[in-house]
Chain length 420, copies 4
Amino acid sequence: MTLLADLLSTVFERRYGAARGLPRDDRPIEDLTADLIGATGEVSGQAVARQILTRYEGWDDAAKLEFFRHLARDMVINPERVRDALDAYERGQSKATYRAFLNASESPRQELIRRMNQVPGATKRLVGMRTDLLRLGRDDDELQALDLDFRHLFASWFNRGFLVLRPISWESPAHILEKIIAYEAVHAIDSWNDLRRRLEPADRRCFAFFHPAMPDEPLIFVEVALTDGIPGSIQEVLAEERDQVDVERANTAVFYSISNCQSGLAQISFGNSLIKQVAADLALENPVLKNFVTLSPIPGLTRWMESVDINPEAQQPDALCEYAAYYLTQAKRSDGLPLDPVARFHLGNGAQVHKVHADADVSTNGLKQSAGVMVNYLYDLIKVSQNHERFAAEQRVATSSEIKSQAASAAKTLPEEGHA
Amino acid sequence: MTLLADLLSTVFERRYGAARGLPRDDRPIEDLTADLIGATGEVSGQAVARQILTRYEGWDDAAKLEFFRHLARDMVINPERVRDALDAYERGQSKATYRAFLNASESPRQELIRRMNQVPGATKRLVGMRTDLLRLGRDDDELQALDLDFRHLFASWFNRGFLVLRPISWESPAHILEKIIAYEAVHAIDSWNDLRRRLEPADRRCFAFFHPAMPDEPLIFVEVALTDGIPGSIQEVLAEERDQVDVERANTAVFYSISNCQSGLAQISFGNSLIKQVAADLALENPVLKNFVTLSPIPGLTRWMESVDINPEAQQPDALCEYAAYYLTQAKRSDGLPLDPVARFHLGNGAQVHKVHADADVSTNGLKQSAGVMVNYLYDLIKVSQNHERFAAEQRVATSSEIKSQAASAAKTLPEEGHA
Amino acid sequence: MTLLADLLSTVFERRYGAARGLPRDDRPIEDLTADLIGATGEVSGQAVARQILTRYEGWDDAAKLEFFRHLARDMVINPERVRDALDAYERGQSKATYRAFLNASESPRQELIRRMNQVPGATKRLVGMRTDLLRLGRDDDELQALDLDFRHLFASWFNRGFLVLRPISWESPAHILEKIIAYEAVHAIDSWNDLRRRLEPADRRCFAFFHPAMPDEPLIFVEVALTDGIPGSIQEVLAEERDQVDVERANTAVFYSISNCQSGLAQISFGNSLIKQVAADLALENPVLKNFVTLSPIPGLTRWMESVDINPEAQQPDALCEYAAYYLTQAKRSDGLPLDPVARFHLGNGAQVHKVHADADVSTNGLKQSAGVMVNYLYDLIKVSQNHERFAAEQRVATSSEIKSQAASAAKTLPEEGHA
Amino acid sequence: MTLLADLLSTVFERRYGAARGLPRDDRPIEDLTADLIGATGEVSGQAVARQILTRYEGWDDAAKLEFFRHLARDMVINPERVRDALDAYERGQSKATYRAFLNASESPRQELIRRMNQVPGATKRLVGMRTDLLRLGRDDDELQALDLDFRHLFASWFNRGFLVLRPISWESPAHILEKIIAYEAVHAIDSWNDLRRRLEPADRRCFAFFHPAMPDEPLIFVEVALTDGIPGSIQEVLAEERDQVDVERANTAVFYSISNCQSGLAQISFGNSLIKQVAADLALENPVLKNFVTLSPIPGLTRWMESVDINPEAQQPDALCEYAAYYLTQAKRSDGLPLDPVARFHLGNGAQVHKVHADADVSTNGLKQSAGVMVNYLYDLIKVSQNHERFAAEQRVATSSEIKSQAASAAKTLPEEGHA
């Protein structure tokens, strides 16, 4: 494969955004991967990397699995080599022995992934590859071990310092907006008009993290309503007909939906940074803003209620709120962390369980998962670090006094085994 | 340190571009590094990372050395832990054992560097830190081992796929252009007028690689002259008074200067990619371009001539060219690679030694290092991969027939021991 | 009204995009217009202009009409003053007498409109004002005279040299794209998906003219299909399921829809410039493109056929094509120009009647207006100036030989009075 | 001239930024101007306009003068035609008669200038044409009458609503910055380093108006220092070694230099708008800013002192300040306006004479024109409209009480005839 062919295909890609015109290379994939991590990979690497990526994308699941097996079995560390390098390092710590250890202890597939990333646009394609890997390797220990290498590299590449926060508005490009529609995971966006209602009004905001190497792909986004006071119902927030809030007087920013976009970036965490950054930006823009709260679902409430023999449908609003307060603050996993996954996320970020609302999400899903109850987590800027530390060290859950007393009321009515 | 303080300093930084206003934190640096790689680093990490970076930048060399010693001695792998993890992995390869091995075999300072990078703008500051490390650790094996970790991370972060090629022109921002003036390493730029002469004319181009996290810092740049035929003198290329070439008729792109900008990115190689990419872009823009050549210095020529008892000053132009041809193609190091460092770079990229010119660089430095001789390396797009492979595998140097015959002439006049 | 108030409302507008917060000014509108064209208008003009514009936009039609009457009656030239100035000028042509004539012969409302335009964003609002004027003044000679002043200024402001051509793509901002949907006047765009089909594929293009003072408002846009050969049916071009053309092999650019967007810019002509500019850009980008044609409706065909007692529904495809060829080239208005308005536009631009197609637009509207027949006008870059001049000077219609012979066939079957 | 040639030259211009490759057209210039304002001008106009502009730019002054004579004599209104149209209009005001009057009363050269402006980039070239006209027509009444038409059109095109305010910083493009160096008219910029000192520090700002059709050409710019208190010396403001002011605490914005850039836009006024707009932007960005003042030269002070037989060099600082206070507030022209041109500008904008400083500009020019005295004009946002109105209506000069008492002191020492 010549540089000329390589250049031409680059030119072509630039012009037409496609990987067509790639010159044929009939060697087995194992030869290509060996070539790419080999000595000449630095100069002719782009052509080989492009070949591998393009061939991969043409494969069906069976062929992809075979490729992953190749990485999982053939491109691994050699324990003997590691042990020799480790012994030498222990005998004499020096640049040379440390370098030898570094080389031996890193699996060849890590270097392979880095070299595939040389091709312009490759980062997105590698994220797609990991999407496949997570799907195909769900119950496969060997492939999950392979995934650790992907995850290790992605955590380094998608480091917070490399991410860019961009506002999403009705003036954003349509090809980005259609991804917002597609990726919204909490309160589905029905149509372009529905999207417009969440973006265009002056009292609505949306922000997303992007990575410079994937400028057309949001990584995570959050939808915000600026309100006067803390709202207690998602339908009220999303109502088609509603009065706009005068943004000069809005004292509250409600984070009512936060969605991850890239399944290939699972377990690479951005949410905590996003909320902090957006709060900082909004505070900078509008000094009147005082409260930063979420309006969050309680996905495990009814399941838990049933597990302690309480019938959600038989409860009055007050009782539902008390059970919700109890569930969020007292119902724990064996590791001492809250049972509710959304609670774990926000409490882990240093937020406080602030207030619960009945009849707050009357959608089918909202009624099913939480009997319509929702919760505000409060990001109190003065207390968030301390909250976080106590939660991390002692699993202590920060709560408002109202929540505390609601949870106490619920505790009295609960059967013994329901207590955490 | 509260999130509020953290937010405010972010806001402040954004507004005024400075790190003033950072709240005091009087703990010893060892506590901060421990904190940052510890459990709470994910949430309150930015504040701690900012504290470390800012404190570091206020230090003198002695304090910096002490900090590097701390990283070099306290934040290293634990061989016993590695060995245990390796043993467990060898006994049973699984996700769990591989994860344990990955954790054990990576030095804590790698994670520390990654977490320092969470702060907006940190990448540039970490590159600056490595600049210090390379300077202070020059003859220190321990610090050079530490540097291997920096280098490993930087190679991953500054992967070709993340770099952006940008043209540099007289319309570029002044704060970028002043860096071009400062970083030009081959043919010094005397003044803003001199810079303008290299950027503004239609037959001149300049391109640089940038990293998105350091958008104001070129990483490497190349200066290009579009010419009609291959020029044989750098003074002719850079002359104040010269006729512009009609770019529609220019058949040759001359890469007459290539400069690395970031000493903190030493050994992270971009040059080969830059030349290939620029050639691709120029070819796309102007289909008339046929030749891609350099006009390169021969930094070791006179030193080598003197080493074989030839007096450079006593030679006629023809003889100088013959010795240069011989030197570039036959004078080798013990590892079989060419003695001349610039030759090693371009031949390693797959170029050919194409033509030598006497009286081609009559600057003080040009006369001193190469008796005024310069050389064109030719990037023949059809042959460059093959050239590269032969050079990598067999140290075979690609040459034009003219160079070959000049080198043969020189060989006859050389004392036996001068032969490679 | 203080500068402070003015500043604050500017700040406010910038932040929230609205004209709220405008301080009250209760003077009658006639005082404001007098104030604005008076001596102090230069310094405090923005505040007064903003007051007038905002007040205007709050009015109902009756109040708007009253305002237009005020402009139409009170802010006109004073014939006596003009005559005196003219006499003086004729007696002695000098800077002074010419200046006096210029001042007298321009109606005060022209200066009023210019001064209203000082407010940021005013241009769009003035275009909106003319939209109202055209609607309310349709049958009103006085208001149509007023409109001549608007039109005169707009022709100067929207001069071709000030317009910017921008590609419209699926990556364009949604708030621009929704205007493309709204303004498409030839082949309606049903939905965002329909829009995407016209923008996203590599073989589709769209371009619009914008004015820098109204960056969110397209003025006119054209939709283009890149095809292999000249298509003969709009449904084929717009089909949901179709094979994309390899743009590298596309030899034809089909301008299949061109729509004006701003009713307030009626009679300010951009279409000719747009087609020329887009053809230039496409030719620059893709040297393979050889043919620049339209696929155009024939809005007056059936009406004309009926006027010469031919029943469109009773014709075979061949006969329909022959009548269409005749109609486009031979049916004329009393001024010698073609009866068909679309034909007048393209022939006036120097295009040629190239080919007619039966069954080319089988939409309800297409069948109704032209019995499904459409026509390609050809922009032959070599002949377009000559065509234009002959058309302008002699009303000569450029045609292909095929059209000529089809028209001749039709002529034989036509009743005498049908001949032009 | 074909459209093809026209297209190609457009393409060429776009690629290489030059007007080379323009096809020859040997007709006399009078034929071209007639052609351009004639019927075909709309379609083939760009080619003809480009021909005229390019030919013009190749001429020497004699040929340019001849061209201006052609416009001045042949492309003027026809008084008889105007009178006929005026008579008809007076007999019956209608759209038709008004249209006829508009056509007759506008000189053909206005339409010619508008049509020349169709060519991309023409606006800048027409501004250059007026620069020539002003220079060549200085004492020529006929050409000054011609200039009235240029000025009329430019006032419409460069309307405040079309201008864009852009900050100029050390991150601005070099080709813009070199124009700032060239155009600075008050305190010369010596070098790129001097420029950097005025742009890079956080307590310095610079803003310019641009027109979208001339994006590389600033029209007017103002340099601002943010200070703590009102400074009394320009050398202090521009000192190489000085302490930066903490911008968070800066309470004063000093407009210390304001320069027009385009001699071809003489008498088209932007300065008042620029100062208001910049004040609004700075106030928005930094709420701490309370004072908006200039630090202005007093160009006519010594000349006036000598005219009333006071020897500037013999005065103490206190006396100089008193005379300056008197001169600025009491010395008037025959029309009642201040003698000092800078005073006229700022007082006309609604500013107040606030404070005078001796030893404030000790440059050669400063000593010569004003014996080193400078003045602060204060833009008090609460009073500026009222000040402006009183100045416009009654020539009343707004002053601080300090200035008033200084002027009174000076009055006592002045010979009778020195009083205004």
